[in-house]
Amino acid sequence: MSATAETLDRLIKQDYKPGFVTELETDTLPPGLNEDVIRAISKKKNEPEFMLEWRLSAYRHWLTMMEPHWAFVEYAPVDYQAISYYSAPKTTDHPKSLDEVDPKLLETYNKLGIPLYEQEKLAGVAVDAVFDSVSVATTFKDKLAQAGVIFCSMSEAIEKHPDLVRQYLGSVVPAGDNFFAALNSAVFSDGSFVYIPKGVRCPMELSTYFRINAAKTGQFERTLIVADEGSYVSYLEGCTAPMRDENQLHAAVVELVALEGAQIKYSTVQNWYPGDEEGRGGIYNFVTKRGDCRGARSKISWTQVETGSAITWKYPSCILRGDDSVGEFYSVAVTNHRQQADTGTKMIHIGKNTKSTIISKGISAGRAQNSYRGLVKILKSAENARNYTQCDSLLIGDRCGAHTFPYIEVKQPSAQVEHEATTSKISEDQLFFCQQRGLSAEDAVSMIVNGFCKQVFKELPMEFAVEAQALLGISLEGSVG
């Protein structure tokens, strides 16, 4: 038994590898938030008047709001005046090709295992790299353009496709939706924009890589994906940040719009810096993600692997408006040391015959707290709606917590809703079985944990599935016992 304990210990105590800092000259606004800061951000980005107005109204609304505290997490208060709301590497404004991108930046992405060049040549995944507040490079633009797909940074989209942005921005997550979404609407600096035209199946996976680098800044990116009728897109998102003792705020908004018959698959591997063993530092990840199945037979699928961040507050949701639309949520959330995660989903059934599936796997180790919080709401109009929810928690160590807070609200008698949840630890029997077949305790645990998460991992695109499994091993290093 003690041998296993040691193995677990070793497993938990692995380092955070993307924790380095890149030395770069940056163009950073001084800390603080007021209308002038927002005007400055808007001006830096050459935004049209309507964007500035939108930001300002979001800001004014934000001032009237209170920071929410209902989540099962505890953290030191955020001083919104101590954060710098804009930080960008000082380089050529709009690199025409990768050759113009600051080599230091490319090196950073190489170190992170996202070689933009190679990715361009070999992997066949189009990447938009967001560094602190701005997008530094987007690969594969030409090839995508041939298919009619627009994949660019949000700033570029506002400049080049203002009509699309105006039509869809804030249509899923309104500017005043919640405290953090309002803050994001006021100050968001960049992010990715995707538009897939009617009937187009996006020829490759799209990917955005977010990197927080500068100290004392917040990252507020905004992603908008619009899939027009009958189109399909698979989108991946990854994130890392340097190791620092202070906490940094990340308040992103992601909006997905799926029109009739369209499908969006959105996968996230979130690996922001989680803080050290004692809970010093780490990212506050307060994110609003929502998809709107606006048309009939549309489908939105969220898959997330959450291993990073000191505090996670994230509920990727689906509004199932179109008849026969489908929403899916697959999640693995791993917390270790003193990490706290309060994550889950919302499935709002409005259209007839709408279906949703929620599979959530929480793993809690060390002194971490891991909560699933989900809402399934079936409105009166949602005849024959169907929901299946399964949330399982695995506890590793006797000082962590795993919690389940489902909310189920049903107003339609023909709906069928099922919810199941279990909580347990890795059973001695399972471990023993693996060990007597010659597996080391460490391998046995990692095998059992991977098996526990398999239902979710199989939803991830290939490259991500490999990364996710590796990450899971790292996050739990030292926790098995």
């Binding site: 506890l395 006797d398 795993a402 489902p406 189920i408 609200e409 709906a415 809703v417 099922e418 630890k425």
Partner: protein, 434 residues
């Protein structure tokens, strides 16, 4: 506007009768101050998310003065009396000894009205435990109704079993309301000694067309290896407002069963909390039926404080017409409570287009060597089962009634020794299912 309307109640507060002990007046004043500050709970409070109690605030339900209308009460009592049981009867918040039955109680049992015990001198020997019992914090989430109850309770039942006493017959507590716009505020203390055992049937009943407010709080203590089966029959009239809360502490190896049949009332909140010691067990079974515009909120919390405890919660709801049902259950396994075995289950039948169910089963777990699960289903009657019965010559309406009754009766089957009698009460709601 409604923000301050609870002050109507605050203003109606009168210093209690002079024969109340000083410590109780102090408790009441403290509770009143808290109630004045916070009022009744609002839906902004997470634990009250689905229940609006504004109608209670909008009007002032008044406490009875003078003597109770025992004639009207008698008929109501007889409609739901359990044969062969000891009983205490409270009408409109006042104890009615004439209607109560206490003959032949064995030694070591106290079954008395709270007010009369409080009026006795300090030398009586009950003062100390009454004080500690009433002073005890009502557990994890204190809210406006508890403070309201402490400030305003007029009476209540006290049941105390000394070590090793096992009551053969059940004790039925009647809480009858007869006055329109009246209120009854009661506090019951139940204390089960070591190795003692009892069954208590808490019964709420009132006339169908009378609007009244009943708030009844039970403080329950079960000592080592004691056992209590607590039944709650909520049979209030269709215009009644009811808040009922049971707060139990169960010591080592103790057993606490809570069995709820919630059939009446317009706006109902049934709260039950249990705090479990080493290897203590609890079983909570509930059936709630609602129709017309009824709103029934069932709120459960189980705290596993120590190792080896077990809890089983199963509630079923049947919702018709424009009614709304709520199930909020929370199992908390604290860090020391290894080897806990907890299960919570809530199943609901939604039988009308306008009915609604909101359910929130929660697990909060801070220990790793545990077995915890919860499940929820919401659906309709199985059309195949209806068809099967129809194919045997039973008309569709009867078939549906039979299946609905069977759905609820499955829970009543777990009610232990009183299940036969209680099934009869349930069956009265499904005349065709016989």
């Amino acid at each position: 506007m409604s923000a301050l309307s609870h002050s109507l109640y605050v203003d109606s507060y009168r210093e209690p009768a002079t024969n109340e002990p000083a410590w109780l007046s102090r408790l009441r004043r403290q509770a009143l101050a808290r109630f004045e500050a916070s009022g009744f709970p609002s839906p902004r409070d997470e634990e009250w998310r689905y229940t609006h109690v504004a109608p209670i605030e909008r009007k002032l339900f008044t406490a009875a003065t003078g003597s109770a209308d025992t004639d009207a009460a008698e008929a109501l009592i007889e409609s739901c009396r359990i044969a062969d049981a000891w009983s205490l009867v409270f009408v409109d918040g006042m104890f009615v000894p004439e209607l109560s039955e206490r003959h032949g109680l064995p030694a070591g049992v106290t079954l008395e009205s709270l007010a009369s015990l409080l009026a006795l001198s300090e030398a009586d020997g009950n003062a100390a435990w009454l004080e500690s019992g009433l002073e005890r914090e009502t557990e994890s989430d204190r809210h406006g109704f508890l403070d309201f109850n402490t400030a305003f309770f007029t009476d209540g039942a006290v049941l105390r079993l000394e070590e090793g006493v096992a009551l053969e017959k059940p004790v039925q507590l009647f809480f009858v309301s007869t006055r329109n716009d009246g209120r009854a505020t009661l506090r019951n203390l139940i204390r089960i000694g070591r190795n003692a055992e009892a069954r208590v049937v808490e019964t709420h009943v009132g006339p169908p067309e009378t609007g009244y407010l009943g708030t009844v709080v039970n403080q329950i203590e079960v000592a080592d290896n004691g056992g209590l089966n607590h039944y709650k029959l909520q049979l209030d009239g269709g215009r009644a407002y009811h808040f009922g809360g049971s707060y139990a502490r169960v010591a080592r190896d103790g057993r606490f069963g809570h069995h709820l049949l919630s059939l009446g009332g317009l706006l109902v909140r049934n709260e039950v909390h249990a705090r479990l010691g080493h290897a203590a067990q609890t079983e909570m079974n509930g059936v709630f039926l609602s129709e017309n515009r009824q709103h029934v909120d069932n709120h459960i919390r189980v705290d596993h404080d120590e190792p080896h405890g077990s809890s089983r919660v199963s509630y079923r709801g049947i919702l018709e017409d424009r009614s709304r049902g709520v199930f909020q259950g929370r199992i908390v396994v604290h860090a020391d409570a290894q080897k806990t075995d907890a299960e919570m289950n809530n199943r609901n039948l939604l039988l009308s287009d306008d009915a609604e169910i909101d359910t929130k089963p929660q697990l909060e777990i801070h220990a790793d060597d545990v077995k915890c699960a919860h499940g929820v289903t919401i659906g309709q009657l199985d059309p195949d089962s209806v068809f099967y019965l129809e194919s045997r010559g039973i008309d569709a309406a009867t078939a549906r009634e039979m299946l609905t009754f069977a759905f609820a009766a499955e829970i009543v089957e777990r009610f232990g020794p009183l299940r036969e009698r209680l099934r009869g009460l349930l069956l009265a709601r499904f005349p065709n299912a016989q």
